[in-house]
Symmetry: C2
Amino acid sequence: MPLSLNPAAQDLLFREARTANTFSDEPVTDEQMRVVYDLIKYGPTAFNQSPLRIVLIRSPEARERLLAHMAEGNRPKTSSAPLVAILATDHEFHEELPRLLPFAPDAKDTHFADRPVREEAATLNGALQAAYFLIGVRAAGLAAGPMTGYDAAGLREEFLDDDHAPLMVVNIGRPGPNPWHPRLPRLAYDDVVTAV
Amino acid sequence: MPLSLNPAAQDLLFREARTANTFSDEPVTDEQMRVVYDLIKYGPTAFNQSPLRIVLIRSPEARERLLAHMAEGNRPKTSSAPLVAILATDHEFHEELPRLLPFAPDAKDTHFADRPVREEAATLNGALQAAYFLIGVRAAGLAAGPMTGYDAAGLREEFLDDDHAPLMVVNIGRPGPNPWHPRLPRLAYDDVVTAV
């Protein structure tokens, strides 16, 4: 039972794609990020709420500010990656709903008037979009190194605001020397899937 | 600046893939789900924690129990989809860490001893894996219809337990007649991405 997706694409996105720990010097351009976003923006979210927001760390000064909030073990790779992106989710995403969900312009107020409801929805749907982004980076032939080891409050204060919460920080670039550890085990189908 | 991923694969996974609202009668087999899982299990999670758990609704009796907890607007498609899956996340995922993260057998206790820490990690990483699953269903040439419109407490009590929380319910199958609404707008790159 083969997949419709061709084997080379399966390898590129999942089987041979790995979380890189070292990177080459080759820059990652805004044009590459634009092509990635223009593909992954189509991934589904509930109510098309699309809460993902991305901060690209481009200046050396911003890189230094970021490093100060990363866990110590994540600093060397975050320091050397050609591009680092903060993926955040927007707790005020509902303000965009009238244009994102034109057939239900009231959803903004009927479904998402309460901030706690929005925060829960933005966490889930922002995470879905973060995963689409990781897949998109791989689709561009680049390695992604997602990390959650950082001081979230500090990162938020430094680069975001009260309406935006960080989901992860991602190192992006072509793999460098000895870029990855051996592949870790995964749970088997029968460990994960049950049928009723 | 083209992507490394070939255009047909881009279309299959993102551009032409859509959230189906109607389905054909063609069954979705366990073998198909096994092939999907054996691809998407490689998607990255923090600490390789792999918290996603999947309940396939196979029996008519289970389908009836599920429908009772779905929002009314989701019932017709959830009733007609060839296969419905509950995607859940395991708040006790740390019990598997000794075999998933063999080089750091203590992570179970050093990082994830506290339940609230585990719940937050399981929500984020379970959502990443849910997105990989949606991509994997599309990679199999099937349409996925993810939904969060249900009574979460009821669903949890009916099909899960105190250690597993639902993330979404997904209708899976080949698209039927008039399967989708027109594509909704997406946010532009410059609405989503900033550089510092």
